[in-house]
């Protein structure tokens, strides 16, 4: 006979909530110092419908925490505050300009009998500071990419302009933050490079040189294939954030046509052009349209003495994408765009199919794909190169990983352990679920491996990782 427990009978179940964004604000403690004018400190506050006094209180707490930690180290103030219900991350982006992100701890809601409100249990140890601290810094970098520094806005139009810009940027950007799927990759903020043979690489380089020579307005070029970087003329840090924008925001928005495959018929709006598959991802969607606007997004990149403002042209043919950056002082015309389309379109289409061919050949050589015994993440601090077989595909909306979130957090823990000392290290741990996780740090490189041979012993795990290093990273020395 089936017994139904009272809990089952009432159909009550525990509810699990993932971490979520509670508040996000930007403030400057040097503003509104007179009593009663505290609101002037606040330059941006999300959500905006929070009551004024509540905003002032929350900003006040941050100020107090930062000030308090200066008692113990004047130059290195607080970075995060842990409370039972949430975590707050503090980042002084520019002198006196603080960005604060408040993330609610994940929680479990346990229903109570007799109509009592459910008990909420906060999981206080789930959020990794390193991950969300990196997310806040990324928010600022992204703002800076499209708007320049806070200081620049202050110079150009005072507090009013800065408030306007913050409002405009973060209103949309915060909606794209998916805090529940942030992980170690956010800490690295790396760039995935496309592996290529020398010949094809040279072809791409000569393509970039030819275009830059023909269209002398172009200051910088970056070349990507399959969401992976092949060539970049930008500074590393600028490329890192531009790469983040391209791969998590711009490309996913335009991915639908590619998903149909390269044999799909040309889209109707560009049907007139039968020579190539090229199109603008930024700027005009259809050159033939007489109404077409030739406005491109502007970005800010670093120069030796500050920043320069550039037009960002992203042009794509099949899986190959080229970014051309042109000084913002130049006005871009229909002529220029047509010229670029005519020059780049056919060549890029050709290159794309070359690379694709090369890619499939390589795949065939490396043998049929079978589920490997391990998954790994690799990151090189020197060139920001990152490689993950854990993440299926990182898009704007969702980051799919093929391993349990707890294992991802163990990777994060090991990453923190590596940061403790500036030495080469190896850490092997066995999780409660019997998965083995291996972390290796050598010079500027970090490698994390998850093995799903649960019955293996330490020595077998060691052998397995050695094999992996030999096949995937044969030219990199890792501490044994």
């Amino acid at each position: 006979m089936l017994m139904i427990s009272p809990r089952m009978a009432s159909g009550m179940q525990e509810k699990q909530y993932t971490p979520s964004l509670l508040n996000f604000f930007v403030y400057n403690p040097s503003f509104g110092q007179r009593e009663g004018e505290e609101e002037k400190k606040i330059l941006f506050y999300h959500p905006s419908d929070v009551e004024k006094n509540e905003k002032i209180r929350n900003v006040g707490l941050c100020e107090a925490i930062v000030q308090f930690t200066r008692t113990f180290c004047p130059t290195k103030p607080a970075k995060s505050l842990h409370t039972q219900k949430n975590r707050q991350f503090f980042f002084e982006a520019e002198d006196n300009f603080w960005i604060v992100m408040v993330v609610r701890n994940p929680m479990i809601e346990k229903p109570n009998k007799d109509g009592k409100p459910p008990t909420v249990e906060y999981q206080e140890e789930e959020i990794l500071d390193t991950v969300y601290g990196a997310v806040v810094r990324q928010c600022y970098s992204m703002y800076k990419l499209f708007n320049g520094t806070f200081g620049r806005a202050m110079e150009a139009g005072g507090v009013e302009l800065l408030i306007q810009k913050l409002e405009k940027f973060f209103y949309r950007y915060l909606q794209t933050l998916h805090l529940q799927s942030c992980d170690l990759l956010d800490v690295f903020g790396g760039i995935s490079f496309f592996p290529l043979d020398k010949m094809t690489y040279l072809k791409i380089q000569s393509f970039v040189n030819r275009v830059e020579e023909s269209l002398s307005l172009i200051k910088y070029t970056a070349f990507l294939y399959n969401d992976q970087l092949i060539w970049s003329g930008l500074e590393q840090d600028d490329m890192r954030i531009l790469y983040k924008y391209l791969t998590t925001s711009l490309f996913p928005r335009h991915s639908e046509p590619e998903l149909a495959g390269r044999d799909s018929p040309l889209r109707p709006e560009v049907a007139g052009n039968l020579l190539h598959y090229g199109r603008f991802l930024t700027g005009p969607t259809n050159l033939k349209d007489p109404e077409a606007k030739f406005r491109f997004p502007k970005i800010f990149v670093s120069t030796e003495d500050g920043y320069e403002e550039l037009h960002l042209i992203v042009y794509k043919a099949m899986s190959a994408a080229a970014c051309f950056m042109i000084s913002a002082s130049v006005e871009l015309t229909r002529d220029f765009c047509e010229q670029l389309d005519g020059l780049v379109g056919p060549q890029l289409t050709l290159l794309a199919s070359d690379i694709c061919e090369q890619f499939t050949v390589n795949r065939r050589i490396s043998g049929p794909e079978k589920e490997p015994q391990f998954k790994f993440i690799y990151f090189n601090h020197m060139n920001l190169a990152e490689k993950s077989t854990i993440h299926m595909r990182k898009t704007a909306s969702v980051c799919l990983t093929s391993v349990h979130p707890d294992l991802m957090k163990i990777l994060g823990d090991i990453n923190c352990d590596f940061a403790r000392v500036d030495e080469d290290e190896e850490i092997i741990v066995k999780a409660m679920t019997d998965y083995w996780v291996v972390g290796k740090k050598s010079d500027q490189r970090e490698l994390y491996v998850i093995l799903n041979q649960k019955n293996a012993n330490l020595i077998e795990v060691n052998e397995e990782v050695k094999r992996l290093c030999a096949t995937q990273f044969n030219n990199i020395f890792f501490l044994d």
């Binding site: 209180r57 707490l61 970075k79």
Partner: protein
């Protein structure tokens, strides 16, 4: 309510020297409290009145000896009466402290002693601590009526360098670990470095942060900066804060704060602390803890340098089991009613421990309680001269009641072997002192002291594994049938871990391994960590946990062989490394005493009859 207290105090002619409650900023005036960061002193608006005119209120309640009982009657008592009593106590203490003449002192302590004779444990402590204060001042106390005062001891003035530190100096900021204790009203109670006065504004801010977050229906846990971790812990009316740059985890630091809290409880009991703050929110607890800073200092030094605290286990001195057994037998033969624990210690390590039967059936001694006892003994050189009889609470055993501890060294002047006898009867001094005499006699007869003197901790080389540098091994409940005091064993730290810095570094590595393997959210079964200077392996099974340190070049295969050898060696040496079988005894409960001496006695009367049937 607060105002009432003050009026009452003034009516009694006893001024309270605390600033009024404004030091506890309400949550919405955080901005105001922020400004405190600038200045370094609180204004003290109420002037101190050293008048020794004390109007002693005679209480009409009958004799109270049981804390819980007393709690009830206190509640039943009119509020004002209780407040007055509290203030009378304070005045008494200040009287003792402010008079240098031994005449007055005698009076003062005698008053306290008589108080304690007829009244509650709270007052007993007051007397005890007042005496401790006098000891600090280097004044011997000779008593007449209470055995408490038999333990007249001399102590050189305390070495107070840490208290005098400049709290604005860089050197102050550089300390590895700061610990602050404050009351909910933001009043400083203890600071590890720098005087509480100089830090009162900093502590005010700490309290402001705690209450501000609280006002949002939330609890502050910690703050992280690039170099420091600040951990908050609220326990009843006390707030404990740790500021550390040691890279220890929040959980470990909070565990250490808990030890600090327990040490305070061990001196005052939880019940009396809550009672004090219930009656007077901004009471200055330093009055009751005066002289005990050294005990807290000592605890914090021990916590930093002794892995027992990390492992929550007791380290006992390796001893041939025949010798350990003979020592246990000596202790077993020297018992008296209401004696519950007899503990023999050498160099801050356990030699043996025997327990009263009913106690061991009911609960075992928690390692944390043993740590507090060991620290108490280690921290005060006062115990080295003669005998001491002091109330002490074992917070994990029962946070609200006192044991009475008899402490005496058996080998003066070396003072390495210490006898600790715990009784539930505060009148039992003479009986317990007689036990000590018996123990001393038996030990002399068996030449035990010289045997103990020869005993040393062991070297890792005895294990015979070449790459093994150090280890810590903690078995779970060995042997299985006995609920035992949790113990661990570990060899001496030898080269390359001989310097203080290197010792600390290895301990820090162990702490890091411990935190990861016992992580609350993501515990692990095993960690193998290869670094440039050493290779570490931590392993937790259902039977034991083990932390090992190898030379950096050891291979994984070698390490695994080494661990197999090590485990075999420990098994072989088990009887020497651990106290294997806890010795129990039974004392006949003394019915005339059963109303006195707290909870343990109650257990005697309720459970003994049942136990005799077994």
């Amino acid at each position: 309510m607060e105002r009432d207290n003050h009026q009452e105090g003034e009516a009694q002619g006893v001024k309270i020297c605390d600033p009024p409650c404004e030091s506890n900023p309400p949550a919405d005036t955080l901005a105001t409290s922020l400004s405190l960061l600038g200045n370094h002193m609180f204004p003290d608006p109420v002037e101190r009145n050293n008048s020794t005119t004390v109007n002693k209120q005679e209480l009409s309640n009958p004799i109270l000896s049981d804390v819980t009982e007393e709690e009830k009657s206190v509640d039943a008592e009119p509020q004002s009466n209780q407040v007055t009593k509290l203030e009378a106590e304070e005045a008494e203490i200040s009287e003792c402290q402010n008079n240098a003449s031994s005449q007055t002192l005698d009076e003062g302590t005698e008053d306290a002693a008589t108080d304690n004779d007829r009244s509650d444990s709270g007052e007993f402590v007051v007397a005890m601590l007042a005496k401790a204060k006098l000891e600090e001042q280097g004044i011997g106390v000779k008593g007449r009526s209470s055995p408490l005062l038999e333990a007249g001891i001399q102590e050189s003035p305390a070495f107070m360098s840490h208290r005098d530190e400049d709290v604005t100096a860089e050197s102050w900021r550089q300390h590895r670990k700061h610990v602050f204790v404050l009351s909910e009203a933001g009043k400083p109670i203890y600071s590890r470095y720098g005087s509480e006065e100089a830090l009162s504004s900093t502590m005010g801010v700490m309290m402001a942060l705690v209450s501000f977050v609280q006002s949002g229906d939330n609890i502050i846990r910690s703050v992280y900066s690039a170099e420091h971790t600040v951990v908050f812990l609220q326990k009843g009316p006390l707030v404990l804060v740790c500021v550390s740059n040691s890279r220890q985890t929040e959980q470990q630091l909070r565990g250490e704060l808990l030890y600090v809290y327990y040490q305070i409880i061990s001196m005052l009991t939880q019940a009396s602390i809550s009672r004090i703050f219930e009656h007077k929110k901004n009471y200055d607890l330093r009055r009751l803890l005066a002289g005990s800073e050294k005990i807290l200092d000592g605890l914090l030094n021990l916590v930093d340098s002794d892995p027992s605290f990390l492992l929550a286990a007791v380290h006992c001195l390796p001893l041939a089991s025949s010798l350990r057994d003979s020592l246990s037998q000596i202790l077993l033969k020297a018992i008296t009613p209401n004696l519950v624990f007899s503990i023999l210690i050498a160099n801050n390590q356990l030699l043996t421990i025997v327990q009263e039967k009913t106690v061991i059936e009911d609960a075992r001694l928690e390692p944390a309680d043993v740590h507090l006892l060991l620290n108490l003994i280690g921290a005060s050189s006062a115990f080295q001269a003669g005998e001491i009889w002091t109330p002490i609470c074992l917070p994990l055993f029962n946070p609200d009641c006192y044991f009475y501890a008899y402490i005496s060294y058996l080998d003066p002047p070396e003072c390495t072997v210490c006898l600790l006898l715990l009784s539930t009867d505060k009148e039992a001094f003479y009986a317990v002192a007689e036990c000590k005499r018996k123990i001393e006699e038996a030990m002399t007869a068996q030449n035990s002291l010289s045997l103990i003197a020869k005993v040393q901790s062991y070297s890792v080389s005895q294990v015979g594994v070449s790459d093994l540098r150090h280890f810590m091994y903690k078995p779970f409940d060995v042997p299985d049938n006995y609920r035992q005091l949790t113990q661990f064993t570990s060899p001496e730290m030898e080269a390359p871990y001989s310097s203080e810095e290197e010792k600390m570094r290895l301990l820090d590595l162990y702490r890091y391994m411990h935190s990861r393997i016992h992580s609350t959210s993501r515990p692990l079964k095993l960690i193998y960590h290869v670094a440039e200077r050493e290779t570490l392996l931590a392993w937790v099974t259902s039977k034991f946990e083990l932390y090992t340190c190898f030379s950096p070049l050891v291979t994984k295969a070698c390490a695994i062989t080494a661990i197999t050898k090590l485990l075999r060696w420990i098994k072989k040496e088990e009887d020497r490394l651990f106290i294997r079988y806890p010795q129990k005894y039974s004392t006949t409960p003394n019915p005339s005493k059963s109303s006195r001496g707290g909870k343990s006695d109650q257990q005697d009367s309720t459970e003994n009859g049942f136990l005799s049937l077994l």
